[in-house]
Point group: C2
Chain length 141, copies 2
DNA sequence: CTGAATCCAAGGGGATACTG
DNA sequence: CAGTATCCCCTTGGATTCAG
């Protein structure tokens, strides 16, 4: 689907009627982008991709996440079938989280985006510096 | 970078220390995810991927976008070096937007994510239905 | 035509305290 | 240990108006 030409080609015919319209399909495609944009979703998926974890293990593995957001993120991912939550009826409580196969395929796809980011950080940074420089000249302090 | 195994593998060693830590690199990788999560960014990139456009052409091509957000999105993309803005000094004003080569490579990467979304919409939807069903049973109205 | 400025509502997300 | 419940701030983003 969606045949792509080589890197750097700025001319395409194919893409995103997917995004332009807003039929049902389109709408839910957007939801995937929203999820990726959530502050902790990709981090959690990536962390679970390394290995299954318990709640607090996960919490320690992700510096900066609050209990509230970790729980909310996990619930969302579970609802979408990306993460499986397993409660062990023991005391003290033990809850394991792991990536589902579906979550695994998403991780594979998203990590291409992460690779892109790492690879092009300098380009983006340079562009920003240049842009900000131009703005300063245009609107002197 | 980041060797990946086949689809559906839920066990990885590699991934994103990139996201776990928060050194400079990490931080800016997150910014890429944020950008993808912005409501109109990917849509605009995709639309410009089809062909360069003028401001209002773009606006008409993207139903639902407000002037405010279209401008803001374009500014952000321009600042990151993903989009080039060309002002023609004529009256009435004419401003052309086009994807840069860098923007092109991002589009190629993101579209893999769009493909994933289209391909797995039904899985996600099914998971949601099942999850919501379980919740209803657990917390009856 | 291409924006900038202002106003405002909704939701994301952090800090903290409490619970089974 | 694994969460829930509150409070509250700040950002995102839509509507509208003004301007070059």
């Amino acid at each position: 689907m969606a045949a792509r030409s080589s890197d750097g080609d700025t001319r395409r015919e194919w893409v995103p009627a997917v995004l332009a319209a807003r039929d049902d399909t389109t709408c839910r495609v957007r939801e995937v982008l929203d999820r990726v944009g959530e502050k902790w979703a990709v981090t959690v998926i990536a962390e679970l991709g390394r290995k299954p974890r318990r709640y607090n293990e996960l919490r320690r593995a992700i510096p900066g996440v609050s209990q509230r957001m970790l729980t909310a993120t996990l619930r969302g991912l579970e609802r979408d079938g990306l993460v499986r939550r397993t409660v062990h009826p023991v005391v003290p409580p033990r809850v394991d989280y792991e990536l589902t196969p579906l979550g695994g395929t998403l991780l594979n796809t998203v990590s291409a985006l992460l690779d892109w980011a790492v690879e092009h950080i300098d380009d983006v940074d340079g562009a920003r510096a240049e842009y900000d420089g131009r703005q300063e000249v245009a609107a002197p302090g």
